[in-house]
Symmetry: C2
């Protein structure tokens, strides 16, 4: 098995999770390649949560606590890596999880659905039994969105998302929190808040931060949101990478 | 099928080749993830061959033309992406191709062997019929090396190779030419010549360069080799990435 002394042991653990999810029909082929792209960016940022990322996670917590209808959009990679944390977050805030796949097949949806059912997620949208909306502006090249989920949402959490979808959500006036290791990506550039960090480190931190902010007055949460500028955040993230070379 | 107007169409073509090779038992799961890591680095260098890379390819051509026993070490990713060019290079220089896999299985070796046999490569080593040497310093965690191939070689061409193997080849006094998009990797840092570029662009350029240098006096080829410093090359490659941000 894996050698715990390997300098990048944690990275190898998550790589195994990805391979396992691919075998189990949760992840498309392209999802494995996408994981590799993420590994490189994580390597470039030093495989740790920066101060800037910590701040961005706190701002995200404020968005979750001040939005009316947040929804957690999940795909194969998110499910492979952090399904347990997604389930915790859904329960903590009582908000839906929506399965939204780039390469949607009934089989993959069913496999992912089972993961969240087994984790006790009741509020699960985007399954094949869901009521979907069929508007070209929100659907584009990938799966349609749920009427009770993304269509209704004012805040959409899209970890590991594609740029096309992010742009369409933004055009539809949604606030978007994305988790994207590439600060130059279209998703990163389009989002309201871009957490430039590895999803496996972000989710536990985000849950902690929400618990820390939950009793704070709404005005303070809004001050924190208003003091945030995503362009500055991305500039800092790029700078963090450059200064590591 | 793929849209030719996509800004990163070429990258998607090669991604499809990788997925196809995985389906055909040529590529291990980890090879798909490794391809994704490469995509990110290629994106960072701008998906083009830099002036510095052109020069490094020319120096590599000089090494090929002045070495006694060059060998082309190939794995699943190299085979998936550039088997035709490897076959051309093997015939042009009359040098062996050695199959050398990190996750060696008889099935994968047979599948890769078939690719090169179909391309008319006669001098194929590292198959299950080969005579292997079993010395711990050269074998390490991965497949053993061929007596007629890497064991005997003075120059080993290792595209898309792992750091452990590169370090062992260097310790055994081999000259190494690697193709590695990550200028910070152990493979890159250990090699005699590191071509920081995408293998799919390197191979056709390398063949051109060899044809251009083939009639040059040996002293001129050696001058070019002696004027090259891999540390400077890697510094320039890193600088090329930084200045793109």
């Amino acid at each position: 098995m894996l050698n715990k002394d390997h300098p990048r042991y944690q990275s190898l653990v998550y790589r195994e999770k990805i391979v396992e999810a691919h075998k189990n029909g949760i992840l498309a082929d392209s999802g494995m390649i996408a994981h590799g792209r993420g590994e490189t960016f994580d390597y470039l940022i030093g495989e740790k949560t920066t101060d800037n990322s910590h701040n961005t996670i706190d701002v995200s917590a404020c968005y979750f606590l001040t939005s009316k209808h947040p929804v957690l959009s999940v795909n194969g990679n998110t499910t492979a890596l952090v399904a347990e944390d997604i389930a915790r977050l859904s329960k903590l805030l009582d908000i839906p999880v929506e399965i939204n796949l780039y390469y949607r097949t009934s089989e993959r949806v069913a496999n992912i659905e089972k993961v969240y059912m087994d984790l006790g997620v009741d509020n699960l949208l985007g399954t094949d039994e869901d009521d979907f909306i069929d508007t070209p502006d929100l659907n584009g090249p990938r799966s349609p969105v749920s009427i009770e989920g993304i269509k209704k949402a004012d805040l959409v959490f899209i970890p590991l998302e594609d740029g096309d979808r992010a742009e369409k959500l933004a055009q539809n006036g949604k606030n978007i929190i994305s988790v994207d290791l590439n600060p130059l990506s279209r998703t990163a550039q389009t989002s309201t808040v871009t957490i430039v960090d590895n999803i496996v480190r972000v989710l536990p931190e985000l849950i902690n931060s929400i618990e820390k902010h939950v009793d704070m007055p709404r005005s303070q949460l809004e001050d924190k949101i208003n003091g945030f500028n995503n362009k500055d955040n991305l500039d800092r993230a790029i700078n963090d990478i450059i200064t590591r070379f």
